[in-house]
Amino acid sequence: MEILRYFSLIIASFFIFSLVGIMSGWLDRKITARLQWRVGPPWWQNFADFVKLVGKETVIPYEANQAMFLLSPIIGIIAVTVTGALLLSSIFFNPVKWDLFIFIYLLLIPSVVIFLAGSSSGNVLASVGAGRELRLLLSYELPFIIALLVPVIKSGSVQIYKIADYQITNGVNIGYISGFIAFVVALLAFQGKLGYVPFDVSEAETEIAAGTFIEYSGFPLALLKLMKWILLSVGISFFVIYFMGGFRNPLTGILKYLAVLILIILIKNTNPRLRTDQILKFSWGWLTMFGMLAVLFALLGY
């Protein structure tokens, strides 16, 4: 019975987060288009892209490590789906102990998958992208974890549902100075996890021609795109639960989700691409510094 419950939880997580993620991806494209005075694609565009990519031929390069090449998108999908299931279970069902740490580990896997995908495809540009992805991972992970410490210090717990409950009695985390700084730092670090524009060195369409994804086609490419969409929706839901009081009231929950999404899209559209050394300097310098400041404020009780 228990296994059936977990199984249905994972299936539910997959469908909910992929649907929400595909629609979020569409909103991203639409708002980007509107910001550039274009009309933008219709709402079913990402569904059409996904179905088309599933129906296309898969070309496997001769020099690729075939098993890794085909396996890494599947690992990515499984990782983000389990991340979503963990988020759902920690809110609605039986919470797992230490689930924040599991959550941080699982959020790491998509970046590792992108690295594996790039390095297994036997292309020079893909390996350049893979190296950059690894450097990106090293640089944003430190401020991300430091920023996530702030609600832990405030509520004295490492369980997501306890942090969510704490915000009912004591006000949302983003309302405090420390919570606000931590939210901004974590959001910028998450931008790097998503591979969105200030930190899109590993994909860099105009520079290394889609980088790590360059050799992917057909079904594996569709899975990688789906992985990014699910990661987008899971990450934003996590931010809403962790910093902004969660989805207890569905209407305001959706508004909070949209607010974070639009913030991410605006950051994406108003920034140039940073070089790898600039990213490292920015995230180990400014972001980490502000993260430390937020931790200090949290310890002092602000």
Partner: protein, 140 residues
């Protein structure tokens, strides 16, 4: 039913890859014009991609020089099928004013099969969109 859905999705989301084979860059500029706010082909799902492995349509400009001929073939083979080829500009369609040039190895349809020809020197963005519509009619 499944096949039908696939074709429908393909018609609604063409990813195009731009390949310049010894053109004077005028056609290339006009291709980029299609992406600007005035024409905005993204509303029809057409996106310019950086890798030929993601593409459904190969936009070829230029005469197809001797040096490029093999590479055009290679890129056409790498494009996942179903894939289509559109020859853009007078040079790609017929050789244009370079038809007697010593590097001439084209026009494109002597190297790879071409689905749609868009003549013009350079063709207007409207002409390119009309050509893509012609291509969509041919996808079954």
């Amino acid at each position: 039913m499944a096949i039908d859905l696939k074709t429908k999705a393909l018609k609604k989301s063409l990813f195009v890859f731009h390949l310049s084979t010894g053109s004077c860059n005028n056609c290339d500029i006009e291709i980029l014009d299609c992406l600007t706010p005035r024409f905005d082909v993204e509303r029809f799902g057409i996106v310019l991609v950086g890798s030929v492995k993601h593409a459904d349509v190969l936009l070829v400009t230029g005469i197809g020089t001797t040096k490029n001929a093999n590479r055009i073939k290679l890129l056409y083979q790498q494009m996942p099928k179903p894939g289509f080829v559109v020859a853009i500009g007078a040079c790609a369609c017929t050789g244009g004013i370079f038809r007697d040039g010593y590097t001439m190895s084209g026009p494109i349809d002597t190297i790879i099969p071409v689905d749609v020809y868009i003549p013009g020197c350079p063709p207007k963005p409207e002409a390119m969109i009309a050509g893509i519509v012609r291509l969509l009619e041919r996808i079954k």
